[in-house]
């Protein structure tokens, strides 16, 4: 009976270890300077992903917007943020030029009382070059305040950010009670440059019901995320009959 059939045999498929377990910290742990790019304008996915990774914060946020990004992407609406567990006040700064955004972010990055500094720039202004981002990153390294640069409709120019993400929207998960309605949001997040860990691409979603704040941002590997790693392990065999 054992020899004539493959019935009951478990196929030994290799299983990829999620990239999040390959390196020490959580992929969305907060390094000093993080770039979040959205290729198309007025795409709120980067904001959503950013807010999801900020849900553990313990103090006010400084949010700096230039005029173009405010016109293209709108302003941050605080009543919508409570779903992401952000109940700390947001100090909004509205400036007209990207140069002032960088200056205000630098001032904020030096202030230890803030829990995060977010700057929004639309397009690729000339002042936002490699030197400017390097300056920001070093300022953030010193103070330990996480700094985020949201760049909408960005062509992907050079940047000294420690982590660089490219975020796009994905169709939402199905709604548990209404088949015609969109459910919880999903984003396609692509970590295409990272310091100290491997880049990767995931489908991210936010689950507000988790007890631990660190578990609420859920990252699932995409099926088309590249070749197998040498350390990928086969699925452990079930108990043999």
């Amino acid at each position: 009976m054992e020899n004539d059939s493959t019935y009951g045999r478990v196929l030994h498929l290799p299983r990829r270890i999620a990239s999040s377990q390959q390196s020490g910290p959580h992929p969305a742990a907060l390094p000093s300077l993080t770039d979040m790019l959205t290729p198309i304008p007025s795409d709120p996915s980067a904001t959503g992903f950013l807010l999801a990774s900020l849900s553990e914060i313990t103090g006010p946020i400084l949010w700096v917007q230039d005029h173009a990004s405010r016109r293209e992407n709108g302003f941050v609406y605080t009543p919508g943020l409570t779903r992401f567990g952000i109940c700390h006040p947001i100090l909004q700064v509205h400036v007209s030029h990207a140069r002032d955004v960088l200056w205000a972010m630098e001032e904020g990055a030096a202030c230890a009382g803030l829990s995060a500094v977010v700057g929004e720039v639309h397009g690729a202004p000339a002042v936002l070059d490699f030197t400017a981002t390097k300056r920001l990153a070093m300022r953030a390294d010193v103070s330990g305040v996480p700094v985020f640069l949201l760049r909408s409709s960005d062509p992907g120019v050079l940047s000294a950010a420690r982590d660089r993400w490219r975020v796009t929207s994905l169709p939402a998960q199905p709604h548990p009670h209404d088949a015609r309605a969109p459910g919880a949001a999903q984003w396609d997040v692509d970590l295409f440059r990272a310091r100290g860990r491997a880049p990767g691409r995931w489908v991210a979603s936010y689950e507000p019901d988790h007890a631990r704040a660190a578990d609420r941002l859920r990252l699932v590997s995409r099926p088309d995320a590249g070749p197998m790693d040498a350390r990928d392990q086969p699925i452990p065999e079930r108990s043999k009959r």
């Binding site: 100090l91 509205h94 230890a112």
Partner: protein, 491 residues
């Protein structure tokens, strides 16, 4: 000395004018000008009576608080003549000029100077000089001419004045008049024991005998002068005019912060003024979220603010003044070595505001309303602190457009959101939607004719989720066919 409220246009001397204040039974005369007084109008007369007798009477409301503030300023201004000045009643000033008269060329010359300087401010001063405060005020108010008396002549000067000049209460004055003691001289001539028994039960500040002793200098009557205002101003005089204020700023700021530290104060507002050689001045002001006297912080606030200052042909004097100060005690680090992060945020607010302007740095403020765009307002960060967010039950977008942008409907369906629409020149196809959530206009706030809104959460084919709304209903009698707007974006 009589304080006259500032008129909008000063009337002529022959126009009878009175100032009125509220009395227990309607308005009464607070004071009258010379023309009105000549017609027999007295303070504390009823305004209606005076108007009935004199139909051409001008009545103005008296500004008692304003007068009081002016008097307090005059008390300090009068210290140009002597170091000790105090207010006397509602309309008088005491100046203790002991040892100061020779600086102005003698006593008579000084009194002339005082009258002249008050006249330059539009105020009429009646002055008198006497060895005691009581005698000086009695002579100033009741003497027909400017009196200068000394210790030997004070009794002679006071003898002719009525007993009201001692400023006892009205009942005592009436009693003294009934007794036939109409002048101070008559009061002094009566044997003391006879009067002492009668007035022994009276308080010291109303007892006419004690008041008389004070006026004569037999009882000490010290002057209680209020303390000087402390102004925190530092200045730097330059030997020759310069164009650039920045190199001189550090010294000024260090000096001012040292002064503030000595007085245990911190500045909330600073004013830097440059005095140009063409007799003009320019000033720059910085504001603080929290009182501070840290020189490095103050210097950083002036970064870039002095570029816009116009030095003209140069300036030779700079002053830095703390226009608003608050007490600040010494700030100490915590025991575990960490610093108070609240101070850091206040410093950040200062720097951002100094460079970008007050309206650009804002906290959220909250309004109880259903309209999504009205729920969250913005207040400048220096004017108010953050307030806790209102609880909103429904799902709300994370980004909002202000104002909402109209979408062009390509393919409408009878129920629900459009199945195809164009927004910012891109065509979107609806895949899923949730809603509607109807938000009715708030009749107590909105204009009449405002239409209701039906909000939908709409997912389009590339995965973005919009917050669309339809303004109004078909055939609701408030305009044409309803239009569609995109108001925000969900995560």
């Amino acid at each position: 000395m009589r304080v006259i409220s500032q008129y909008r246009s000063v009337p002529n001397d022959d126009v009878p004018v009175v100032l009125s204040r509220d009395g227990p039974h309607g308005p009464v005369v607070q004071c009258a000008n010379t023309a009105a007084a000549n017609r027999g109008i007295q303070p504390r007369d009823r305004i209606v009576d005076a108007q009935a007798i004199h139909p051409d009477l001008h009545v103005e409301a008296a500004d008692l608080e304003g007068d009081q503030i002016l008097m307090q300023r005059l008390v300090h201004w009068a210290r140009r003549w002597c170091p000790w000045t105090a207010q006397d009643g509602a309309d008088g000033l005491f100046l203790d000029i002991t040892g100061a008269a020779h600086l102005f060329g003698g006593e008579a010359q000084m009194l002339r100077d005082i009258v002249q300087r008050f006249a330059m401010q539009g105020l009429t001063a009646k002055v008198a000089l006497a060895p005691t405060a009581g005698a000086a005020q009695a002579l100033a108010r009741y003497s027909p001419h400017t009196a200068i008396c000394h210790q030997s002549t004070v009794a002679a000067h006071l003898a002719a004045l009525p007993v009201q000049a001692l400023r006892s209460d009205a009942q005592t004055n009436r009693l003294l008049t009934r007794l036939g003691l109409k002048t101070i001289g008559a009061l002094e001539a009566v044997p003391r024991q006879a009067l002492m028994r009668r007035f022994s039960h009276m308080a010291a500040d109303l007892n006419p005998l004690i008041l008389l002793d004070k006026a004569m200098g037999k009882t000490p009557d010290p002057l209680n002068a209020p303390a000087d205002h402390i102004t925190f101003t530092v200045r730097s005089r330059l030997p020759e005019p310069v164009i650039d204020p920045i190199p001189h700023l550090k010294g000024l700021v260090d000096d001012l912060c040292a002064t503030l530290a000595t007085a245990e104060q911190g500045a909330r507002q600073l004013l830097l003024t440059i005095y140009r050689i063409d007799s003009e001045c320019r000033s720059v002001s910085v504001v603080f979220a929290k009182a501070s006297r840290d020189p490095a912080h103050v210097l950083r606030l002036f970064d870039g603010k002095l570029d816009g200052i116009d030095p003209g042909f140069g300036f030779d004097l700079l002053t830095l003044e703390a226009t608003r100060v608050e007490p600040v005690s010494l700030v100490q680090d915590r025991l575990d070595g960490t610093r108070d992060t609240q101070t850091d945020i206040a410093g950040l607010l200062d720097r951002l505001t100094a460079r970008l302007g007050q309206d650009r740095i804002t906290w959220s403020s909250w309004t109880q309303t259903h309209k999504p765009e009205r729920v969250e307002g913005r207040i400048p960060a220096l004017q108010g602190g953050p307030s806790p967010a209102l609880l909103v039950c429904h799902e709300r977008p994370i980004r909002m457009l202000k104002p909402a942008e109209e979408v062009h409907v390509i393919y409408a369906v009878p129920e629900g959101p459009p199945s195809q629409f164009r927004w910012r020149r891109v065509v979107y196809k609806t895949t899923r939607h949730a809603g509607p959530e109807r938000i009715a206009p708030e009749w107590w706030r909105d204009k009449p004719g405002t239409r209701l809104r039906d909000y939908y959460k709409v997912e389009v084919q590339d995965g973005r989720r919009f917050w669309l709304y339809r303004e109004g209903l078909l055939h609701d009698g408030r305009g044409d066919d309803p239009r569609w707007f995109v108001h925000g974006f969900f995560a």
